[in-house]
């Protein structure tokens, strides 16, 4: 019983990070209908910027907001400089759907190369912001450590902030309206281009948080977040690609299943399991477990 509970706790911690990455992908997908492969690049760039701040200040808590802002700025810039133009130039024909996606893939390669040129390819390590020694209850030490608690709590806070913005503010209403029906949104007076850029900025910030949370228990290299991009996609697809709740639930399902397989089956299966879960969801419930509601066609 204790073993199962511990495994689930570790799964929740890992799943939280997948949820954040899924959230980043969902925010961009909803606002521009682009599957953003560059998200891994944006997150790694933000995390390296966080790393630089840590090496200068020796303080994770200063680095964290700096990385977050850097992530948001990078997201906004990518939308303004690349995606917006691309959507206007390639708005019809067979390239329209695929051009932005391919462009984000190209951008991922570019960002990784630039990061490699600036910081080199060696693995680097963060100083831990809090301990990674499991909590102790009497004589028992569990695997779940303060760092895991930090990950889970930060994720919950980020998710809450985003859902408050989306559900309770005019900005959130603009973001949703622009995502669902851009033309009606424009006719209502919403500046849809600006709103989309804000969506990209939010996504960039969420990706940066994921990078800053996962790296302390890992290492940093120009492609250390690539696997996280894959997990984020899987989580986003499980969650139906459209909603914050979907991203959160998708991440948790993936995190917990991975932890269970690692613990009870074999640690070499971690990577295939993510794909098995992905394909199973696509086969049995292609719209995701929390798919968008079907609309009534009057």
């Amino acid at each position: 019983m204790g073993r199962l509970l511990n495994t689930i706790l570790i799964g929740v911690s890992g799943g939280s990070i997948y949820s954040l990455m899924a959230l980043a992908l969902v925010l961009v997908w909803r606002s521009t209908r682009v599957v953003n492969f560059a998200q891994a690049g944006q997150a790694i760039l933000s995390t390296y910027i966080g790393y630089v701040v840590i090496t200068h200040t020796d303080n994770y808590w200063i680095a964290f907001p700096v990385a977050l802002v850097a992530g948001a700025l990078a997201g906004a810039l990518i939308d303004i400089l690349m995606v917006r133009t691309l959507m206007k130039r390639a708005h019809s024909g067979p390239v329209a759907g695929i051009a932005p996606v391919i462009a984000t893939l190209g951008l991922l390669g570019l960002i990784r190369a630039v990061v490699g040129m600036i910081w080199g390819g060696d693995l680097r390590q963060f100083k831990l912001p809090v301990s990674n020694h499991g909590f102790t209850f009497g004589h028992n030490t569990i695997p779940f450590a303060p760092i895991n608690l930090l990950i889970v709590v930060t994720t919950v806070v980020v998710m809450l902030i985003f859902s408050l913005i989306f559900q309770r503010t005019n900005l959130g209403l603009s973001l949703r309206a622009s995502a669902y029906q851009p033309e009606i949104a424009r006719l209502a007076g919403i500046r849809v281009d600006l709103t989309r850029t804000i969506g990209w900025a939010f996504a960039g910030a969420a990706g940066a948080v994921a990078g800053m949370l996962v790296t302390p228990t890992n290492y940093l290299s120009p492609n250390s977040l690539d696997l996280l991009l894959v997990s984020g996609f899987v989580a986003a697809v499980i969650g139906g690609l459209e909603s914050l709740v979907g991203a959160a639930v998708g991440g948790l399902i993936l995190g917990i299943s991975l932890a269970l397989v690692l613990e009870y089956v074999s640690s070499s299966l971690a990577f295939p399991v993510a794909f098995v879960v992905l394909i199973a969801v696509l086969l049995f419930k292609p719209s995701g477990l929390i798919g968008a509601k079907r609309t009534r066609h009057a």
Partner: protein, 237 residues
């Protein structure tokens, strides 16, 4: 000159000339019905008036100012509000959120609240369904919601694209009466695009009949209704 002045307007979709050398004027406070059958160019015209589509040549002035080349989100701020065809609501949002969209850019939140109350007074069925998602609404209710949202922007020029489309006669009556009472109460200028010629001309001050993008006839609505040759050819009754 005040009001809406359209002169020698040409609008194309690629090689197709959807609006061809069209000129007409709507005085401030007038309700103009633009009548034409499928493919006449009515939607294309409205999309250009609201900034969604660019014109090929010609001019459009609203109260003396050219409005071609302006963006829809800016035109809304200057009082030109377009209710597009197909019951333009966002089904994923609630009725309340759809209404809120109408005033989302406005600074005067007090007046937004007042305008929202007025819209609900005009269409009480919206008031009973505020928390419902808009995709649960009937076609008529969706049209009411679309018009209600437009009103919250406090329009000066209201552009309506076939509000009667697909609705039952009783509901059409209700919508047309609402449009007329709005015009009377708020001194609104209205361009009402319709295939339902009789219904639209009955509430309109002037009528503009177009066919294949060209002006066929224009004049006081009651004269068009009584014109036997127009009746047979374009008004369909």
């Amino acid at each position: 000159m005040s009001g809406l002045v359209i002169s020698q307007l040409n609008i194309s979709h690629g090689a197709i000339r959807a609006v061809n050398d069209l000129s007409f004027t709507v005085q401030p406070g007038q309700l103009a019905a633009v009548i034409g059958s499928n493919g006449a160019g009515k939607t294309t015209l409205l999309r250009t008036l609201s900034g969604l589509k660019s014109a090929h040549s010609g001019s459009v002035e609203w109260n003396g100012e050219s409005i071609l080349r302006k963006k829809p989100e800016d035109l809304v701020r200057s009082g030109i509000v377009h209710v597009s065809d197909g019951k333009s609501v966002i089904p994923e949002l609630t009725v309340k959120e759809n209404l809120a969209l109408g005033g989302i850019w406005r600074k005067d939140k007090k007046d937004v609240a007042l305008a929202t109350e007025e819209a609900i007074d005009l269409f009480p069925r919206l008031g009973e369904r505020l928390q419902q998602s808009a995709d649960t609404l009937s076609g008529g209710e969706r049209q009411m919601l679309a018009i209600g949202r437009a009103l919250i922007a406090r329009p000066k020029l209201l552009l309506l694209d076939e509000p009667s489309l697909g609705l039952a006669p009783l509901v059409i009556d209700q919508i047309f009466q609402a449009i007329k009472s709005l015009r009377d109460r708020h001194n609104l200028t209205v361009v009402l695009v319709e295939q339902n010629a009789m219904g639209a001309l009955r509430i309109a001050d002037i009528g503009i009949i177009i066919n294949l993008g060209k002006l066929v006839a224009s004049g006081p609505a009651h004269e068009l209704i009584d014109n036997p040759s127009l009746r047979a050819a374009y008004l369909g009754y």
